[in-house]
Symmetry: C2
Subunit: 200 residues, 2 copies
């Protein structure tokens, strides 16, 4: 192997491996694809990546990624600005918007409290949320963190911080995923679904 | 959703979706990662991609991707230049070199005959292989295409073309993957393993 140099391939594979969730085989497949593509196409891909990154900014109100500040959601007069849904990541906003039901606004924490990963409350956009609350126009905060232990911890931490502002604090319902079979649900989800049962 | 614009995210997601084997969720995860990365890092990623593509060239002898022409393998005097292993893709060269046993050189077809995908013999680097053979320094051609129907068809097609040159034509052995259980092998592999049985 000593005389075997295929440096551009190795370099490109390494670049892709640094992206999250990209293992050796995936990185190599992407590298080969680009090395086999016309140079103009590869240049267009690279330009597109840089331009997208340049065009993105953070909305100073909701902390979501956007192409303008304040973002389209925070300036949408058709939305209920007094209801704030707190999520962990921008992708959660995308998911909730796709569901299409929610008409309030958002607050993106950019993570969740996770001592194992060295993420404490100060690493999240919690100060910005409290600043929004202190302005007094918010009536309800919906905590929509992820359903695991860390999301739970974040929700508890936030609810204690928010309650002194005198606003309603709610959280998303736990329960069975729609369309799923009872027999495949784990015990904790089943227990939560029972606890949260509704009268018909 | 009408007022919801997150254009840089959508653009970047689209860019990644065009890469092979990258679905909507993977593309979005990569897009979010880069949009959350410092602008310098994203610029470095984009530059790296373009530079790798610029640095890569095709070896005029073996048709493999390399950073020079002729490539390090074709100019390695420690290798047996009279034995040529024909593979479908540059990644197959990487796989064989990783195995570390083979000391001959390669010829990369850049595909396999696949009428369903509109790939005929003219789309592959077959003319370049015949040109190498016509120079008369090659004693054995090892056909190492993939083990499916299309690889098989490519191998049969090539063996007919190569035999008139009077060189030895061999193919990789079919059989059980090393370390695998007999009970999990499909019937065709088992049949081939039986056919190819060796005296001990």
């Amino acid at each position: 192997m000593a005389d075997y140099h295929l440096t551009p391939l190795e370099e490109l594979t390494d670049l892709f491996r640094r992206l999250p969730g990209t293992g050796r085989k995936t990185a190599r497949r992407l590298a080969f694809y680009l090395l086999n593509s016309p140079e103009e196409e590869v240049q267009a891909f690279a330009d597109g990546v840089v331009n997208a990154r340049r065009a993105v900014c953070t909305c100073h109100i909701c902390q979501n990624l956007s192409d303008r500040d304040p973002c389209g959601l925070c300036t949408d007069m058709g939305r209920d600005l007094s209801t704030v849904c707190v999520v962990e990541e921008p992708k959660d906003v995308v998911a909730l918007e796709r569901a299409g039901e929610y008409r309030g606004v958002y607050h993106v924490l950019h993570g969740r409290i996770s001592p194992m990963d060295g993420v404490g409350p100060d690493e999240l956009r919690i100060a910005q949320l409290l600043e929004r609350l202190s302005q007094g126009n918010i009536g309800e905060v919906i905590l929509a963190t992820s359903a695991g232990v860390e999301g739970e911890a974040t929700t508890l931490y936030l609810s204690r911080l928010i309650k002194p502002f005198g606003v309603k604090v709610t959280r998303l319902a736990y329960g069975l995923p729609v369309g799923s079979d009872l027999e495949y649900a784990d015990e904790v989800t089943l227990m939560r679904a029972l606890e949260g049962r509704k009268e018909m």
